[in-house]
């Protein structure tokens, strides 16, 4: 099957004119525990293949699993953060199927007794509205190994001469978070899907339970999608698109599948229930394996493990460890800082919330913190392809520098343009703002005699403008101020220059 040319799709608008999308999102999150779900092997990413394995995660005969208590705590915390109920008693189950990257040929997972169930996550959309995504369940399971197919052109199993398996990933703790069907999103479906995954990612990151790096696979999203006739109430046949591993892809995959389903249905065809592979490069999905409802995993309770029965005291103690939800935190900070919605959104999108918070805490005004972190440094970071916090960290530029810079302005030593020069010096590695100002001789002239002479000279050289101001056209003063500043080589306080001009021309 070609992976460069997709099937026929309807345009998004055409599709939405006839159909309502229904989505179900399944997100797998690798927990950031030190050890695996059922053994003591390390979980570090990127180790040499098959160096982080033991009899348990290799499924050697006789080996037995033991549940990682920290993983269970993380699962409960995630459940609580998603407003779920936490099971008083639940078990692991075996999901039986044969696959070479699964050491035991069953995956230890949870089936009908998830640790967390019936929750929701509110996500903010670009128009400022909030959409509530209902959570069906969050359950614990173990990851599989990773197959590497060698000898083919595509790296896929088709055409490969042999396969290698790395079991380092086998047994890494996973939480699978499954939404209830997300309906009534209409044209906002792609945006809701992306916003949900983004919000979930921010939440999990704030909780410090996972590094949620989609590009490394520590957070993976499967998109279930079906269409039903516009304003209908019976769900259509769904497809499950796998391998959707960036926020942008989530949005694009939903959009693509809506168009593809709509084309099939409009042409009188029917959707095959199957898994689809998302191709990030070409922006299309291709058919994977056909997945019928009859696929039988022969689930049964894992007899090698005892039930998980967290006490209510434990659950409440874990609830107390939850950080403030990112959305609530952003609202609180916006109010504290007095930012407009637009200003706040820019700060959030640029990833500056923590930096601004630290800078304000260090003594800067919220306005100055926003101004300096989103200005020249953001431009330079963007050129380098880095985000501002890591760029600043690499340069050694800190909140204290911003505080110092603002102090130089408020004390009257620097005006705004001088402060910008000082900041550029800091970014160029010339030292602290004060050191830069000293080295570059940046200092407002405080000698009023020099300023008064300059004003008199400028008035004498511009009799027409001076006459206008005398007649009451005060706004013309700007032209004279500019000349005074030039006369003073920029090292004057523009406010003081203005006061003296107006006084001389009888407008004080």
């Amino acid at each position: 099957m070609s992976t460069t040319t997709g099937e026929r799709t309807l345009s998004f608008d055409e599709a939405l004119a006839s159909f309502d999308p229904v989505m179900g999102l399944e997100v797998h999150v690798e927990l950031g525990t030190n050890t695996k779900m059922f053994c003591g092997c390390p979980t570090e990413f990127g180790a040499e293949p098959n160096t982080q394995v033991c009899p348990v995660c290799l499924g050697l005969p006789g080996a037995l699993p033991v549940v990682n208590a920290v993983a269970v705590e993380s699962a409960i915390r995630i459940g609580l953060a998603l407003n779920c109920s936490i099971a008083e008693w639940c078990r692991f189950a075996r999901k039986n199927y044969f696959y070479p990257d699964m050491p035991k040929n069953f995956q230890t997972s949870q089936y009908d007794e998830p640790i967390a169930f019936d929750g929701y996550l509110d996500v903010e959309l670009e128009d400022g509205s909030t959409f509530r995504v209902e959570i069906e369940r969050a359950h614990m399971e173990e990851d599989t190994g990773k197959s590497l197919h060698v000898g083919g052109a595509t790296g896929r199993i088709h055409g490969a001469t042999h396969s290698l398996v790395d079991y380092n990933r086998a047994g890494i703790p996973l939480i699978e978070i499954v939404t209830k069907p997300i309906v009534a999103t209409r044209e906002k479906a792609p945006e809701v899907a992306k916003a949900y995954v983004a919000t979930l990612r921010d939440l999990l990151k704030a909780m410090d339970v996972s590094d949620v790096k989609m590009e490394q696979g520590s957070m993976r999203c499967d998109v279930n999608l079906s269409l039903m006739p516009r304003d209908g109430d019976t769900f259509g046949t769904r497809t499950e698109t796998k391998n959707v591993n960036s926020l942008r892809s989530v949005e694009r995959a939903v959009r693509y599948e809506i168009g593809r389903h709509a084309a099939v249905l409009t042409d009188g065809g029917s959707i095959t229930q199957e898994t689809r592979h998302w191709h990030e490069d070409t922006g299309i999905t291709t058919s994977g394996r056909v997945k019928s409802d009859a696929e039988d995993y022969r689930y049964f309770p894992e007899p090698d493990l005892v039930p998980v029965a967290p006490s209510r005291e434990t659950v409440e103690a874990l609830r107390a460890t939850l950080p403030e939800p990112p959305a609530a935190r952003r609202k609180r900070l916006q109010a504290d800082w007095g930012y407009s919605d637009l200003e706040m959104r820019d700060v959030v999108n640029a990833g500056l919330v923590e930096l601004v918070e630290d800078t304000v805490a260090a003594g800067a005004s919220p306005a100055a913190a926003r101004k300096w972190w989103s200005g020249e440094i953001a431009r330079r970071a963007n050129t380098e392809g880095e985000d501002v916090p890591s760029y600043a960290a690499r340069l050694g530029v800190t909140p204290a520098h911003v505080v110092e810079l603002e102090g130089l302005v408020t004390s009257g030593r620097l005006n705004d343009s001088m402060a910008r020069q000082a900041w550029e010096g800091v970014l160029d590695g010339e030292g602290t703002p004060t050191a830069v100002a000293d080295a570059r001789g940046l200092e407002l002239v405080q000698d009023t005699g020099a300023l008064e002479s300059a004003v008199d000279a400028v008035i004498a050289a511009n009799p027409d403008v001076a006459a206008k101001i005398r007649d009451g056209k005060v706004q013309a003063v700007g032209a004279l101020i500019g000349q005074v500043m030039r006369e003073m080589k920029g090292q004057a306080d523009a406010g003081a220059a203005r006061a003296i001009i107006l006084e001389r021309l009888g407008q004080a």
Partner: protein, 505 residues
């Protein structure tokens, strides 16, 4: 005290070794020589580790000479059922599919044996993956009953029962999923205990049915089983189902052998009809011995036991079908490339390997279990079986209200002839009718010899069952009965077994 080291009990050997009268090397050498003499006929072992056993013996002797404080059983050799993972020693589970596999780790039970300084003589034969009651399902051929080499030594642990019955080892490790320690003990005139589920770690025991499997001791005396029980029992953080509680005082109970005032419950459903007359007669006599020793007899009823076999043969295959899925040729063991297929897929290699590597009984149970767990059948089969399991546990709980222990014949018959039941799985399964309920309920059970049946002159077994974590009661009753029977017989029952050196030469 006997002078033939191979006929000495583990307790006697421990005393001799402790007193410095013999070395562990002498004991180990004597047992290995006995194996060389008789195992060609008995075929208890799949693998004998002469070098390893002698090296371990020498190590203990050296440490003892250096004045180190050693475990009471240090230097006493032992045989281990081939279902336990042993680092550096082949572990096949009686199956072709694991031929050549050498585990990189020790089962917890094996680790404890090594830590106690007990030389491991070798790995004993078994029905493939412990599925069977005769060892006839071993891929490497059956073991033979030392009482009559044409008869079965019981199963699945027929290697471990025959190895102690033929004086090749004083002790052996067995595992018991539905009677695989107790039934072999019964038909070979030896002693075997299935401890409380969770009493002995399952880590490294290649699982047949995880919720039923339990490792335990095989020996020729009740005290020896207690001594070994104490070595291998106790909490293991590597096994989630391991009980975190003190080990019952089994050795003390075996030494006191006191049943005065104890209430002995006879299970109405596990006596009389269906039991061989000679087996029933020895059972009745044994009960009378216990009464003479001061015990009181009560009758109890466990009506749900009728369904035990049916429930067992749903739960066991279900769990086994999943446990045995890992044998897929991808990481270890046998790998068979299918004939006539160019560049076979992983799935085709898996299928060819499992077809060639598993025997008929294993395939039968995998198919049964796969079916029982299938969507649409799960509730009717696996679900119902779990309910029966609950009812059986309830029956036991009620019975233990009126009785301190329950007693039954261990197996309905004496040893049958090799080949007799091979084509009749149901007849084979019925052999475990009296032992299976204990596995379903997780309670402990012990079998010891009650004498020889009049019809065939072969050993019959007497089973004692106790509540969970009251394993010591098994040993109180077992030791008291053993003492009275030995007195009545004028010596151990095994003294009457044939001298195998004649047979094998």
């Amino acid at each position: 005290m006997t002078t033939d080291l191979t006929r000495a009990t583990a307790a006697e050997l421990a005393d001799l070794l402790g007193a410095g009268s013999v070395s562990s090397r002498e004991v180990t050498r004597a047992l290995l020589d006995r194996t060389a003499a008789v195992d060609g006929a008995v075929r208890s072992y799949l693998h004998v580790d002469e070098d390893g056993a002698l090296a371990a013996a020498d190590d203990v002797d050296r440490r003892r000479a250096a004045g180190e404080e050693l475990h009471a059983l240090a230097g006493v050799p032992i045989a281990v059922k081939d279902v336990m993972a042993t680092r550096g020693l082949p572990t096949t589970c009686g199956s072709r599919i694991l031929e050549g596999w050498v585990p990189p780790y020790d089962a917890t039970v094996v680790r404890r044996l090594r830590e106690a300084g007990m030389p491991i003589l070798g790995k004993t034969n078994m029905d493939e993956f412990a599925m069977g009651s005769s060892t006839e399902h071993s891929a490497f051929g059956p073991s033979h009953n030392p009482w009559d080499l044409d008869r079965i030594p019981g199963g699945s642990g027929g290697g471990s029962s025959s190895v102690v019955a033929s004086f090749q080892a004083p002790l052996a490790i067995g595992t018991d999923t539905g009677g695989s320690i107790r039934q072999p003990a019964a038909v070979t005139g030896t002693v075997g205990t299935k401890p409380t589920y969770g009493g002995v770690s399952r880590y490294g025991l290649v699982a047949l049915a995880s919720s039923l499997d339990q490792a335990g001791p095989c020996s020729r005396t009740v005290l020896d089983s207690a001594l070994l029980h104490e070595v291998i029992a106790g909490h293991d953080p590597m096994d989630s189902t391991s009980v975190d509680a003190p080990v019952p005082a089994v050795v003390e109970a075996a030494r006191r052998a006191d049943v005065s005032g104890m209430r002995i419950g006879i299970v109405r459903e596990l006596t009389g009809e269906g039991f061989q007359p000679g087996v029933q007669a020895r059972f009745d006599e044994a009960v009378q011995h216990l009464v003479d020793a001061g015990a009181e007899v009560v009758e109890v009823s466990c009506p749900s036991f009728t369904y035990a076999l049916a429930a067992y043969y749903l739960i066991l295959p279900s769990e086994a079908s999943s446990n045995l899925a890992k044998f897929d040729a991808m990481r270890y063991g046998l790998r068979v490339t299918p004939d006539g297929i160019d560049a076979p897929s992983a799935e085709q290699v898996m299928a060819a390997t499992r077809d060639a590597g598993f025997g008929d009984e294993v395939k039968r149970r995998i198919i049964l279990g796969t079916y029982a767990l299938s969507s649409g059948y799960y509730d009717a089969y696996y679900g119902s079986a779990q309910k029966v399991r609950r009812l059986i546990a309830d029956d036991f709980a009620a019975a233990f209200e009126t009785a301190d222990v329950l007693v039954t014949p261990t197996a309905p018959t004496t040893a049958f002839r090799l080949g007799d039941k091979l084509d009749d799985p149901m007849a084979m399964y019925l052999n475990d009718i009296a032992t299976i309920p204990a596995n379903l309920a997780g309670i402990p059970g012990l079998s010891l010899p009650s004498g020889l049946a009049d019809e065939d002159g072969l050993p019959a077994g007497f089973q004692v069952l106790a509540p969970a974590m009251a394993d010591e009661r098994l040993y109180s009753v077992g030791a008291a009965l053993e003492a009275r029977l030995a007195a009545a017989w004028g010596g151990p029952l095994l003294d009457r077994a044939p001298d195998l050196t004649e047979v094998s030469r």
